[in-house]
Structure formats: C-alpha cells, structure tokens
Amino acid sequence: MMTEHKMPDIKTYVIVFLALVGLTFFTVYSALNWHVKLGPLDLNIILAIAIACTKAGLVIAYFMNLKNSSKLAKTWAGAGLFFLLIMFVFGLSDFVSRWFTVEGW
C-alpha cells in the first residue's frame, strides 16, 4: 500500500517563516508606538491578538500541515479550538455576571 503524502515545498516554508517574522516585528512596533483607543476599547490588545491569531493560523496550516491533513485531524483541531472557546466564553460570562445585581433578589 502506498501513502499519498502531500506537504508544502521548501519555498512555501520559507515564505511562511518570513511572514511570521514580519508579523512579529509588526506586533512589536504597533504595541510600542501606537496607542489607539476607541471609546473604552483598547485597540492595541485587539490588534496584538489578531496578529497572534494570524501567526497561529499560518503555523497550523503550513508548518503543522493541517491544510493537507485528513478531515478527521481537522475536526479534532477544530474541536480543540471549540472547547477552548467554551472555556473562555462560559468561564468569563460567569465571572463578569457575578457583579450583576437584580432588583428584588
């Protein structure tokens, strides 16, 4: 039995690596020099996390080669992310709602 194994070529790896390095410099530069606020929202942290998510996506898709992996592996990667979001959303919604007061309770 032969296994068909698809993987990125060297040029793709190098391009992805350079993009990751570029994004690292960008996140450092933006965090140190930009202080953008939109009302109470601090856009710096949103930008920093957005850049980190982009970098994570590149690492997962190309270095970890999830792009060419089986649907089963993709499902499990998605399940990991899904349960992480459940932890964030349910955990934090409990936390922020502890200070809510309801009339008559």
């Binding site: 039995m1 032969m2 296994t3 068909e4 194994h5 698809k6 993987m7 990125p8 070529d9 060297i10 040029k11 793709t12 790896y13 190098v14 391009i15 690596f17 990751l20 390095v21 690292t24 996140t27 450092v28 965090a31 140190l32 710096n44 942290i45 920093a48 996390i49 850049i51 980190a52 970098k55 994570a56 690492v59 997962i60 190309y62 270095f63 970890m64 060419n68 992996s69 089986s70 089963l72 592996a73 499990w76 990667a77 399940a79 990991g80 992310l81 349960f83 992480l84 932890m87 964030f88 955990g91 934090l92 936390f95």
Partner: protein, 219 residues
C-alpha cells in the same frame, strides 16, 4: 504556493492496522487529540490571565513594563526559526534523506537551547530584582497595587515555566530521535515519530506566539 507530492514511502505496517494509510491516520489522529487537550491545559492559564488582568489592570500594565520585550522578541524569533528547521527536518525524513534530518533536528535542538538560555537570563534578572512571586516580592510604584503585580508575576512564571517545560521535553524527544536515527539507521524507515514530534514542536511555538504579546507587549 505549490505542494510536493510524495508517494511511495513504504512503511512497515503494524499488525493492528489495515494498511499504511490507516496506520498513518491513526498515529496522526492520536497526536491531534493530545494537542487538543494541551490547548485546554494552557487555555486554563490564559483564562486566569484574562480574569486577573481585568481585576488588576493598572498593576498588570505596570508590572509588564519590567519585562524586557527585546529578550521576549528574540525568543520569539528563535522559536519561529526552530519551527522552520523542524518543518524542514520532517520534510527530509518523509523524503527519506535521514542524514539531512539529523542536521535539521540538531539545529532545532540548538535553537531550543538558545531559547532556554535567554529564559535563564530573564528569570535570573527577575529573581535578582525581587520579582519572584513566592519569595520576598518587592514592587514599589506610586499608585500601583503590589499584590496585583505579584499575581502578574505568578502568572508570568507559571505560564512561561510550563511552556519552558514543554521546550525541555521537546529537546529530550529530539535528542532521542537523533540518537535513534544515528545509531539504528537501518531499522529507521519510519518518519512518523519525526512528523509527530514536529506537530508537538509547532504547538510549543504556537503557545509562545500568544504568550509573547500578552506578557511582554500588552501586559
């Protein structure tokens, strides 16, 4: 961006598997399941970070200014480079060029040691400045709650410490792989352990990609 098609790897198939494809899918699935729980393992600490950052916002911002973003940035570049060398190592293993694989794995190991070296410099400077949260923690700054800063450093040492532990485990596994390929070359016709180690190593890189901006840049 194109992809190379590599077929015809001819791995030995263990008796519990139908064929090579099924064997590969099973190994790969096991690793992804492990990584999914690793994600939740670190996720708990990230949740704690979000909650405490919200509670002690000013203290977290003040405390993070004492971390050296240049060293953190250097470590980011080191880990990204090590991910590249690891990816190339896996590629050469799949292409059956194990001599090159040894070189790439050793390069990855060297970068991992470099990462730990930078961490050592950072940790010792933090401890020398009384920022070890379990010791005589001293953080004096006008209008800043020292307790909040102590929590920041508690999370800093826990998160980077757990991550550093993963780097050390990675070094051990890579060392074992190099040993195995070098001394038992004839029996090693199997690239799967190298591919799975690659997945683990990229995950370690992934965690640092989030730790760096949260701890060093934003606080």
């Amino acid at each position: 961006m194109s992809e190379a098609h590599v077929s015809d790897t001819h791995l030995p198939v263990a008796h519990q598997f139908e064929d090579e494809e099924q064997q590969f899918q099973s190994y790969s699935l096991g690793m992804w399941v492990f990584l999914a729980q690793e994600l939740l393992f670190f996720g708990g600490l990230f949740t704690a970070f979000i909650v405490y950052r919200h509670m002690y916002f000013d203290a977290f911002v003040a405390a993070h200014h004492k971390l050296d973003w240049k060293l953190g940035g250097l470590n980011t570049l080191i880990l990204l480079t090590s991910s590249l060398t690891m990816a190339l190592g896996v590629r050469t293993a799949i292409l059956n060029n194990y001599k090159a694989t040894i070189g790439w794995l050793l390069a990855t190991c060297a970068l991992a040691f470099g990462f730990m070296g930078v961490k050592y410099v950072e940790y010792s400077s933090k401890i020398a400045h009384n920022l070890w949260p379990a010791g005589d923690f001293v953080f004096k700054q006008e209008g800043i709650d020292a307790g909040g800063a102590q929590i920041f450093y508690g999370l800093y040492f826990t998160m980077t410490g757990l991550h550093g532990l993963h780097v050390l485990v990675g070094i051990l596994i890579m060392g074992w792989l190099v040993f195995r390929i070098y001394f038992k070359r004839k029996e090693v016709v199997d690239y799967i352990p190298i591919e799975l180690t690659g997945l683990y190593w990229h995950f370690v890189d992934l965690v640092w990609i989030f730790l760096f901006p949260l701890l060093y840049l934003i606080g």
